[in-house]
Assembly symmetry: C2
Homo-oligomer: 336 residues x 2
């Protein structure tokens, strides 16, 4: 059985009391230099390390923060996590990463697990399927610091950070228009997500600004958000089977962008015939074929900002009542 040395062990071996050992290790002022030296040396010898579980129980602080994202395999999220970690580690916090695979049930389980494990705070990007935020509201009201990133919600008042999805979508759509396309379809993400609607608005505004009539039949919702390839292929096939078929597609999600490319490839479509632009943070998006123009979010920075917000909440001595929602701009990369 795995059993590391404890303060008691040291106390017993050195014929001291646990409290003395504890204070000696933390360099307390009331302990003599000699005792400190003996304790420190013995502690090093037996490789003593304080038990974070016991500390968590006693202090109700764990110096760890919980991360809940839909999918690690999604580049955007793994980049955001890297950003979170870059700051968290620096500030002495550990991270506990969990993924929900866009399942509400899994999300509930993970969030509760993290809360019970007494993480000091929570960074969360909501799952597509979640519509009941009661469990989060509960935790938030009970005082658990929470920061939302990317897929944020209105129902809870706290710090949030997300991308300028409207402009991102606007710019991408505009670029398609400027390259001469007029019949621009939209592959949209799960409709309950905040980002989905913002991107839809950007798409519509761009059409309007360029006097292109909005055509509902060019919109396809992929409510499974690219987790289901078949859904996307069916949508693409359907779009391209129309008599007045689109000459471009704007895709409002990373995973759906990939699926759309795969669909176009498997349907053997001439890339010149149909232009595509979409959101993507894939680190190989520039190598894909058929190629697409893409809107890239500042994922790493978003992670950094989110965790900084969270640490402000956690380490603030007084309750914070003024919250901020930060919007990061996006980068449009056009195909050469």
């Amino acid at each position: 059985m795995y059993k590391p040395a404890t303060i008691k062990d040291i106390a017993l071996a050195l014929k001291l009391s646990p409290s003395t050992v504890s204070r000696a290790l933390r360099d307390g002022y009331e302990i003599s230099t000699a005792t400190k030296k003996v304790v420190m040396e013995y502690a090093k010898k037996v490789n003593y390390q304080s038990n974070p579980i016991a500390l968590s129980l006693k202090n109700r602080r764990s110096y760890s923060i919980g991360i809940v994202v839909p999918k690690l395999a999604n580049s955007f999220f793994s980049q955001a996590i890297a950003g979170i970690e870059s700051i968290a580690y620096e500030r002495g916090y550990h991270t506990i990463i969990t993924q929900t695979h866009d399942s509400s049930e899994r999300e509930l389980i993970n969030v509760n697990h993290l809360a019970q494990r007494s993480v000091d705070g929570l960074l969360i990007s909501m799952s597509a399927g979640t519509s009941d935020y009661g469990f989060l509201k509960q935790l938030h009201n009970d005082g658990l610091p929470i920061v939302f990133f990317d897929r944020i919600i209105d129902e809870i008042e706290t710090f949030k950070v997300t991308s300028d999805n409207f402009s991102g979508a606007y710019n991408a759509t505009e670029s398609l228009i400027k390259s001469g396309r007029k019949k621009i379809a939209l592959l949209s993400n799960a409709p309950q997500l905040s980002i989905t609607n913002e991107r839809l608005s950007g798409y519509m505004k761009a059409l309007a600004d360029y006097h292109i009539p909005f055509r509902a039949e060019l919109i396809r919702n992929c409510s499974k958000g690219g987790n289901d390839y078949q859904e996307v292929e069916d949508a693409v096939k359907d779009l391209l089977a129309a008599t007045d078929k689109p000459d471009a597609i704007f895709i409002s999600s990373d995973r759906i962008s990939i699926s759309c490319i795969r669909a176009l490839k498997s349907l053997n479509f001439d890339p010149k015939e149909i232009a595509i632009a979409g959101f993507s943070n894939s680190d190989v998006v520039d190598l894909l074929h058929p190629s697409l123009s893409y809107v890239k979010q500042k994922s790493f920075e978003m992670g950094q900002i989110a965790v900084e917000m969270l640490l402000r909440l956690i380490e603030s001595k007084y309750p914070i009542t003024e919250f901020e929602t930060k919007i990061l701009d996006t980068e449009l990369h056009l195909i050469k």
Copy 2:
């Protein structure tokens, strides 16, 4: 301050002792049905959930397992994690995921953090930079169950699962040979990794079997394992600048495969002039251009097998002394 209901709270409210409440909640036989009913109902009302921290401290069991991988952004690992979770959740365990970014220091910190957090066991795929396994040996000797996957090491005797890297490399190299290539370069991964040498051996064996002389000048080590793009580009550039330049490249790592493709693209190389094949578990590898034949590992299955091994170790009543190293075969996907 976030403060969930405790057993004491319930005891106080119901004028019972904590022990009675505890036993009532666990449906102990010595508690009257009436009391149980009262306790259960009140517990539900205040949304009581047992504190895992306290339980961990008392039982030295946490029903959580630690996962340590080099990089979440690497598809292979995020797929393996999905496999791990699929089994772990089913069996009532939580997972705590950490990544090292191939840094030994980070690996040490993460492993210790997990051990101290009293995870019941550890699933680890080693970082490229690690050469001192002392800290793992220590934990293992102290009785912490550990299972290695993918990037395994010989120095510790326990369950392990990895891919048949030799055959994977052999088959890929063979496919290049059969397509008429004779001057096959090798972009190799960090040399201290187990998988690197196995793949090198497979490459060499294929050359030998087809009577192609081994040429050391066609081997390039990317010791940073594709974490550094420039290293790969330099290697590719160097290879292709030679007078007797290769007509094919076999790449022994996922990340390096991607970097190599990018290098070839940025150097404007004709895909027909130089064929490439490499290990990759990217979920978009079939959409890349220039395209490559690829060796895909059974990542999801590997995760499942690893966690099953770990649970055997954790839940075994008697110490296990007979260990197994499972080798999964790989899938070769040729470009059409």
